[in-house]
């Protein structure tokens, strides 16, 4: 009976948890991961298009930062992604799985577009304020509904917020049909194209500087809110253990609702950025999956809003670069998605080596 196991050899590799790692070491591992990912995608690029990978990387860089105009577009898109991630941070820190940023962005965008269409006779500053407030309220309501249901009946917020996205998409379709311009195009077209009412005004001649200012203010504000305020403390406690929160006299339901109001409002505000500050139109693709990408940003940054800046830049850079090489080398979008995928795979994979180490079967066993 015992014979079967007796001659078994020791396993070749084992996995063990690390207790902690010096910061420089963990940063080093992440840098190595990026380098390896670039090398691997280099092989891929060479295999497909027989081009020098370095040249391909160069055109990626040019795609994102090749001209002043491109730098500003990259900045604008980074700010949009960052804004959503900042909005998601308090919800996810509370372990409230807000998968509904897409919907919150869309309703924020609808509210903004509605103001631009119906209130264009208002003075510019007042119109701006209306759009700001309306987009916040719309997003907040979209966040509030699942939070209320969770607080009252303990519904699953992941499914609930996800389904709210589809409601928001249908709602957007409805309004696109309402506001169709020109008639029959099935798009809203650029709103107030001639008069630019409700468009973000250029600051110091820079079209997108206002986006940067608003989002940076939110980034700093959210950092302080989460780290130093009483409410931020409550969010952190609930995120770790709801029981501990109840024990400390924190009303978990109240915090759920309050935090989702904030989270939804900021996501709604990014709808404002998208419509008034970038595309000046609304469509079902206004959110464009960024509500999901931002979840990755928030988690990778471990809810530190300053770290989110770097991650947002990286992701937008990859996007822009991938689009550039796709058009330059006549590739279809899949190749660029593959490169982005490879790079993200290595970055996420490096977390494994930061948290775990591998132990190989020792050869010197007899000596020991």
């Amino acid at each position: 009976m015992a014979a079967a196991a007796v001659h078994k050899k020791e396993a070749l590799v084992r996995i063990a948890r690390r207790d902690s790692m010096a910061t420089w070491k963990s940063i080093g591992i992440r840098i190595i991961a990026v380098i390896i990912s670039l090398v691997v995608s280099g092989f891929l690029i060479y295999a497909i298009i027989k081009e020098n990978p370095l040249k391909v990387y160069e055109s990626m860089w040019n795609g994102a930062f090749g001209s002043t105009r491109r730098v500003w577009i990259t900045a604008r898109d980074t700010m949009m992604l960052l804004c959503i991630a900042v909005g998601l941070a308090p919800a996810f820190k509370m372990k409230f799985w807000n998968i509904g940023a897409e919907g919150q962005i869309l309703v924020g965008g609808i509210a903004t577009a509605a103001c631009m269409i119906y209130l264009k006779s208002l003075p510019a500053w007042l119109l701006f304020l209306c759009m700001f407030v309306a987009s916040c309220i719309a997003g907040a309501v979209w966040g509030l509904i699942p939070a209320m249901f969770k607080a009252k009946w303990n519904t699953n917020e992941t499914l609930f917020t996800l389904m709210m996205n589809y409601v928001a998409i249908q709602l957007t379709s409805f309004f696109v049909a309402q506001w169709e311009n020109p008639f029959g195009s099935n798009t809203v077209g650029v709103i107030n194209q001639g008069t630019k009412e409700g468009w973000f005004p250029p600051i110091f001649g820079q079209e997108y500087l206002l986006n940067v200012i608003i989002v940076m203010a939110l980034t700093v504000g959210m950092f302080i809110y989460l780290k130093y305020s009483k409410q931020g403390y409550e969010i952190a406690v609930i995120g770790d253990s709801q029981n501990t929160a109840r024990y400390a006299g924190i009303s978990v339901r109240k915090v759920f609702v309050r935090t989702m109001l904030i989270s939804g409002a900021i996501c709604g505000l990014s709808g404002f950025l998208a419509v008034s500050g970038a595309s000046h139109t609304i469509s079902t693709s206004t959110a464009g999956g960024r509500g999901f990408t931002a979840i990755i940003v928030a988690w990778l940054a471990k809810f530190n809003t300053f770290t989110m800046i770097a991650i947002s830049v990286l992701i937008v850079f990859l996007e822009k670069g991938a689009i550039e090489i796709a058009s330059k080398y006549n590739l279809n979008d899949y190749v660029s998605s593959m490169i982005t995928g490879i790079i993200l795979f290595f970055i996420l994979g490096s977390e494994f080596f930061i948290n775990y180490r591998l132990i190989f079967r020792s050869k010197s066993k007899e000596v020991a």
Binding site: M1, A2, A4, A5, V6, K8, K9, E10, A11, R14, A16, R17, R18, D19, Y228, S229, K230, Y233, E234, A236, V237, D240, S241, N243, T244, R246, Y247, A248, G249, I250, S251, I359, S362, K365, A368
Partner: protein, 511 residues
């Protein structure tokens, strides 16, 4: 090597991470037909060592011999094939399956199909060693002791000759423990080798043939039980002389602090977890609460603390020690009780899941009690000072007061929690299983702290599981049985047997 040795573990070393060495060059032998007690404080590496024998971990270095042959145990399956079976503290049974089905789990399909044969096999094992298992009963209908019996039978059925029991008596009453020991002796007479992991000394002396002692991962020695005493074993285990007496000061002029009457609670399934419990608690007294785990202790403390809703007709009156004013606590939540000015401190059973925030450091954990005071921003200075104070006074071992408390050892976690609750200057202090998993020195520190509070006139309610400690520490002991108060006894005059009977046999009405 003598033929009588069943297992030999030689020069075993196992580390977790780079800092924690769970076992360091441990060499252990168990003979056929003997009961070996593996003794050591929590964190001394007993369970880790045994997990390596049962295939859950693998040693970093060292060899294991079974019947004189070197083996590599890569999985629990390998261990079973070698006749080694372990009964863990947390039972590994499927609740909705019957006893037979649980035994059948993990067997070859062809064998598992024949339920009748398995049931017969179970019966044979029971008759042979003096167990009783009802083969058709579902696990969720079983008591803790029955589940444990089933685990042992399951292991024997699979042909184990070497049984490892990890703290088997922790969940048993004194009577059930006696029954278990009888069975173990029968198994020993049958030639089985039994390793029993424990830190209860009197049990070691009662059941084992030899005792092996571990301290901080290191092997200290093996002694024949006949030559050992409680004092000698404690010293080997702790590494220094320890005074094993618990102080019990007598306080005159005790004043009523809490009047609990007709307190009833429902659990989440709507079943009564606490049923019509009434008692008084006095300032300057430690009131012990005894009972098998899950007899309503949790509901009792949580409903007093405002964490669980009590049923209609329940009442908990708090009598202010200064003004003599009475206030009702039932129907209030934690925050309301706090705002009423009732200084209620609570050390819950689940330290990291309820009492503390595991991912936060000491400072942020001190804030749990005080953060509400700030306007928008939480005050961090006072908690920081408090954290330093607790760290110094209770000798908390931590790299810094910012280190997440999850990373501290169990004893230090408890010091943080108790330190914070005591710093709040409570007039009622409730503590659940306050020394569970702590080493002897820390346990005695906790007893000392509780006694200090008692001397200050605090009403202390102490839910415990070790009857020896309850009998030595408390003034009175309230015994819970199946959610009801089955009697309150004077801890100075009662016996362990009396409390044990109250724990298991619910008295009928009016008796």
């Amino acid at each position: 090597m003598e033929n009588n040795v069943a297992v030999r573990m030689q020069h075993i070393t196992k580390a977790f991470g780079t800092k924690v060495v769970a076992n360091k060059d441990v060499t252990l032998e168990i003979e056929k037909g003997e009961i070996l007690a593996l003794l050591g404080e929590n964190g001394s590496g007993k369970t880790t060592l045994m997990n390596m024998l049962s295939g859950i971990y693998h040693p970093d270095s060292g060899e294991i011999f079974v019947d004189g042959k070197e083996v590599h145990i890569e999985s629990p399956k390998d261990a079973y094939a070698l006749g080694i079976g372990m009964i863990h503290q947390h039972f590994k049974l499927v609740d909705v399956f019957t006893a037979t089905e649980n035994v059948a789990l993990g067997m070859d399909k062809s064998k598992a199909k024949n339920r009748n044969a398995i049931a017969k096999g179970i019966k044979e094992i029971c008759d042979r060693y003096g167990f009783s298992v009802s083969t058709d009963r579902k696990v969720y209908n079983m008591s803790v002791s029955q589940k444990q019996t089933l685990e042992i039978v399951k292991t024997l059925y699979r042909g184990a000759n070497i049984l490892i029991l990890d703290e088997p008596t922790a969940v048993l009453t004194p009577q059930e423990t006696d029954k278990l020991f009888d069975v173990l002796r029968n198994m020993k007479a049958d030639g089985k080798s039994i390793i029993i992991i424990t830190h209860k000394l009197h049990e070691v002396l009662a059941i084992s043939d030899r005792v092996s002692i571990l301290r901080k991962g290191e092997f200290i020695g093996t002694v024949p039980t006949k030559e050992a005493t409680v004092q000698s074993l404690t010293e080997m285990m702790v590494g220094q002389k320890v005074v094993l007496d618990i102080e019990r000061p007598l306080i005159e002029n005790k004043k009523k602090r809490l009047v609990v009457s007709h307190l009833s609670c429902l659990n989440k399934y709507g079943v009564r977890s606490l049923d019509d419990v009434s008692f008084d608690a006095y300032g300057g007294e430690i009131l012990g609460v005894a009972g098998i785990s899950g007899s309503g202790q949790k509901a009792l403390l949580e409903s007093i603390a405002g964490l669980q809703e009590a049923q209609d007709g329940s009442s908990v009156k708090f009598i202010d020690p200064k003004t003599g004013e009475e206030s009702e606590l039932v129907g209030k939540n934690v925050l309301q009780i706090k705002q009423m000015g009732v200084a209620l401190s609570f050390v819950p059973e689940d330290r990291l899941g309820m009492g503390l925030v595991g991912s936060m450091g000491m400072t942020d954990n001190m804030m749990l009690k005080s953060y509400q005071k700030g306007v928008v921003f939480a005050d961090r200075k006072t908690p920081k000072n408090l954290a330093n104070q607790v760290k110094d006074e209770l000798e908390v071992v931590t790299p810094s007061i910012q280190t997440p408390v999850r990373k501290l050892s169990g004893g230090n976690v408890q010091k943080v929690l108790v330190g914070r609750e005591i710093a709040a200057e409570p007039s009622v202090l409730m503590a659940a299983y306050a020394v569970r998993g702590l080493d002897i020195n820390t346990s005695y520190t906790i007893y000392r702290l509780l006694n200090e509070q008692k001397k200050k006139g605090v009403a202390v309610i102490y839910v415990g599981e070790d009857l020896d400690v309850l009998l030595a520490l408390c003034d009175r002991i309230a015994v819970l049985c199946a959610g009801r108060l089955n009697g309150i006894v004077d801890a100075r005059t009662t016996t362990k047997e009396e409390v044990g009977i109250l724990m298991t046999n619910l008295r009928k009405e009016g008796e």
